[in-house]
């Protein structure tokens, strides 16, 4: 929005309706004409000698606005088009008579297309009627001067960036475009590459210097601890040795702790231990009970240090069940 406001205020020039002459050509199919071709074909229709002109091609219609004085602006928008653009949705088929103050602008819109536009010094009802009959337009809108000023301001503000783009004079010469670009950017690009390398090298040098400084500080700090470094290393070795011992010799919780865990879990349950065996990581328990054997399985499954709990053998007559489980590898904490 800021960009649009800047363009509207700085670069736009509204070509007054009473200082231009509108001419429209309709083609059978969509064509694109250069300014030279337009001048050659349609210059003769202008009421000025050596006229300047502004054109717009929409679908198969070529709109030309001739004007006398040369205007040094890149963005010229004819006032009649500006007003047509503002009214084309609201009055799709209408003849508009706009009071410009010293003259009257006639805009003829049919099927939302600009059919004709011109200015009259006096408001002539006969001409208006004639135009309405000629184009078969019933709707006639008259706009007074104060309303016109207001509408003109609104019309300028409502111009979209797309509308503005339609009126810009940017001609890109495709021929020799690459050569032109290369010619223009060769030295700056070469300079940029050189500059990039120079900056990077400078940065690398700085980082290297910093690295050397940091390394020196580290060597100095390290040398101050040389006297106890051997002691620390030997302590670390001893710790490592003990850790290895624990991992190798004491991989599981000790048998007493496991027995206590299981005893507590079966506390207040009507189970009697017949046998309890731990060999390596394997646990085997034979239990006598009047309860459901699955209950014993559930109790064993609640114990954290056991996994893969299984009911291996049951004898309902003797009310005996044998459970097996694997101990979780845990080790002792040093």
């Amino acid at each position: 929005m800021q960009l649009k406001k800047l363009i509207l205020s700085k670069f736009i020039y509204i070509l007054p309706a009473n200082e231009s002459f509108f001419f429209k050509v309709k083609f059978e199919k969509k064509v694109k004409l250069t300014d030279e071709l337009i001048a050659l074909n349609y210059k003769k229709h202008a009421p000025y000698k050596n006229p300047n002109f502004k054109t717009l091609t929409e679908n198969q219609n070529l709109y030309i606005w001739f004007y006398e004085q040369e205007i040094n602006s890149k963005l010229i928008i004819p006032e009649s088009y500006l007003l047509f653009n503002f009214f084309k949705e609201k009055y799709a088929n209408a003849l508009l008579n706009i009071d410009l103050g010293n003259s009257h602008c006639i805009l003829i819109i049919k099927n939302s297309l600009l059919v004709n536009s011109y200015t009259m010094l006096e408001d002539d009802k006969n001409i208006v009627d004639m135009e309405r009959n000629r184009f078969g337009i019933e709707q006639y809108i008259k706009i007074d001067k104060s309303r016109y000023i207001e509408i003109k301001r609104e019309a300028v503000e409502s111009l979209s960036l797309q509308d503005l783009y339609k009126w810009t004079d940017i001609n890109v010469q495709k021929e020799g475009l690459f050569a032109n670009i290369v010619n223009k950017i060769a030295y700056p690009l070469a300079l940029l590459l050189f500059f990039t390398m120079a900056v990077e090298q400078y940065h690398v040098r700085e980082v290297k210097a910093n690295l050397a400084k940091v390394e020196e500080a580290y060597t100095l700090a390290k040398s101050k601890n040389d006297d106890i470094r051997e002691k620390i290393n030997s302590e670390e070795k001893k710790e490592e040795k003990w850790l290895n011992f624990v991992h190798k010799e004491l991989p599981y919780e000790d048998s007493l702790t496991i027995f206590t865990h299981i005893s507590k879990a079966f506390n207040e349950k009507k189970f009697t231990f017949e046998s309890f065996t731990i060999v390596g990581s394997k646990l085997k328990i034979t239990i006598k009970t009047q309860e459901d054997f699955i209950e014993g399985l559930n109790v064993l499954n609640t114990i954290d240090v056991l996994k893969d709990v299984a009911l291996k053998y049951t004898n309902k007559k003797r009310h005996v069940a044998t459970y097996e489980a694997t101990l979780l590898s845990k080790g002792l904490e040093l």
Binding site: Y187, V204, L256
Partner: protein
């Protein structure tokens, strides 16, 4: 096209590509090195400040008593001490040691410790058995129940424990 400009541009492009491919140094790697070295320097500086505390440190001092001392006694002497410790733990808990058997001597040349192994059979009241197990833990030496089998003795309110007990002897004086 201006040939002089093209030559200059091409030359610079070749120089730049070669610079990127062969001569450009990895600055981010150097920066990571700086961060790592700085962190190590901070650690060294902290160590310098706390140096006095480290001089007398012995992180594994409390573990030295866990093993039977191999530098002062032979393997069989250590086994005898181990058996005595087990028997006294059982006696204190009012358990009867019915059988005790030395397992095969397993001396590992490369290891810094030897394994002492006893096969023990005891009979006692269930609570007394727990006391016995607890007594072995209270002992200054590390005793590990490697294989534990508990059975109810027929027609007696006693539990029979059959277990392989491990203890360890150091090959030299570990401090």
């Amino acid at each position: 096209m201006n040939s002089k400009k093209i030559v200059v541009l091409l030359f610079m492009l070749i120089v730049y590509v070669n610079y990127v491919m062969h001569f450009k140094e990895d600055v981010s790697k150097m920066q990571r090195q700086i961060v790592a070295i700085e962190s190590r320097t901070v650690k060294e500086q902290r160590l310098t400040k706390e140096k006095k505390a480290y001089k007398d440190v012995n992180t594994t001092k409390s573990y030295s008593g866990l093993f039977y001392n191999g530098s002062e006694a032979s393997y069989s002497q250590n086994m005898g001490l181990f058996q005595q410790d087990v028997e006294s733990a059982a006696e204190e808990a009012h358990c009867t040691v019915s059988n005790i058997q030395w397992q095969e001597i397993a001396v590992a040349d490369k290891s810094w410790y030897d394994l002492l192994s006893l096969r023990v059979t005891t009979e006692c009241q269930p609570k007394a058995l727990l006391t016995f197990l607890d007594n072995t833990r209270k002992d200054s030496k590390l005793i590990v129940f490697n294989q534990l089998m508990l059975n109810k003795v027929r027609r007696k309110p006693l539990l029979r424990m059959n277990a392989t007990l491990f203890a360890y002897r150091s090959k030299k004086n570990e401090k």
